[in-house]
Amino acid sequence: MKNKNVKSLLLGVGLMLSSAFASGYDVSNKTKPFQLKNIDGNMLSLEQMTENQKGAIVVFTCNHCPFAKAYEDRIIALDKLFKTQGYPVIAINSNDAVKYPDDSFENMQIRAAQKGFTFPYLVDETQEIAKEYGATKTPQVFVLQKDKKDFVLRYVGAIDDNDQNPAQVKEKYVEMAIGNLLKGERVQISTTKAIGCTIKWKKS
């Protein structure tokens, strides 16, 4: 009995620790370069995005998740607003398409066409990039700032503070963060949380 108690305690602590350390990058970490396949079939990396690039808005998203869907229009709006100011959106789908057939490469192409995505939509087939970034759910945003050759993480979290109703949004976190960066300021709110759909990991 006693032994079992210890075991259950260890299990509980273990579970707590595993989720606590699951995160990848922290704010102000340099991110590793990546190259992933875009829906147009070409490989794309962060630094190939636009002229006079100052950074990037990396969004982990997918097709099937209602939260991701609720934010599609707002992600397009972010791209339109900030691409010309040096912060283009780059969307990544890391979900296991076996578990979620909706998230297959073909369905990514279809969804992007339906919604008129103005930004690249990349597939992270090996899920390495999601793991590297510490992305756990969709949608989840990483705002990166270019520092010479590096892309440095400046903001991680939600797009704004209300997923259910865009009309009731009070704080637009990504806009605020990039607003800070464009003025050469420190990002005031650099981490937020939101409910999202868990990224489904492939069985290794």
């Binding site: 079992k4 108690n5 075991k7 259950s8 299990l11 509980g12 579970l15 707590m16 989720s19 606590a20 699951a22 995160s23 998740c65 209602p66 578990k99 979620y100 756990t136 759910k137 979290g157 939600a158 503070d161 209300n162 997923d163 259910q164 109703n165 009731q168 009070k170 704080e171 937020t192 949380k193 939101a194 409910i195 999202g196 759909c197 868990t198 990224i199 489904k200």
Partner: protein, 156 residues
């Protein structure tokens, strides 16, 4: 047509009164009770596949320990405007007695951190509270064995 709308409307009112609707304050009130009941709180949503997959396990776990001091709350994070659909879903899955509709929509950072600092925001999430203390937290899919092991010493 008018009668139909009226019936639908009164049904909507009736259901809105009888259902458990919680915000963080309510969750905190329920789970900070110092009784020796084990409170199991699971955050899920109808659109979350791994969550829906583990619902039968949670129900089975509850039924297995019905004679003990145990309460189970299945807190749905579905949009508030979809409440009727969520209720229907819960009825189909026969988990309606455990259903709680979550009412917090604004500022998720605040309530997520209040529930658990290390919670990134993905679901399913399961917590256990005993004598006013949080004794278990996991941000991943559960199975009956894990539930058993984690709850064993608190079930009286």
């Amino acid at each position: 047509m008018r009668t139909f709308v009226f019936v639908l409307f009164s049904w909507a009112i009736a259901f809105s009164q009888s259902l458990e609707k919680w915000d963080y304050k309510r969750l905190n009130y329920v789970t900070s009770s110092d009784s020796d009941t084990l409170y199991v709180v699971n955050f899920w949503a109808t659109w979350c596949k791994p969550c829906v997959e583990e619902l039968p396990d949670l129900k089975e776990f509850y039924q297995h320990h019905q004679d003990k001091k145990l309460r189970l709350f299945l807190v749905s994070l579905d949009a508030v405007k979809d409440s009727l659909r969520t209720l229907q879903f819960a009825k189909n899955k026969a988990i309606e007695p455990f259903l709680v509709l979550w009412q917090e929509a604004q500022k998720p950072t605040t309530w997520i951190n209040q529930v658990e600092k290390t919670w990134s925001g993905s679901i399913p999430v399961t917590l256990m509270y005993y004598k006013g203390k949080k004794v278990f937290f996991t941000e991943s899919q559960l199975d009956t064995e894990t539930l058993q092991t984690a709850s064993q010493k608190f079930l009286k």
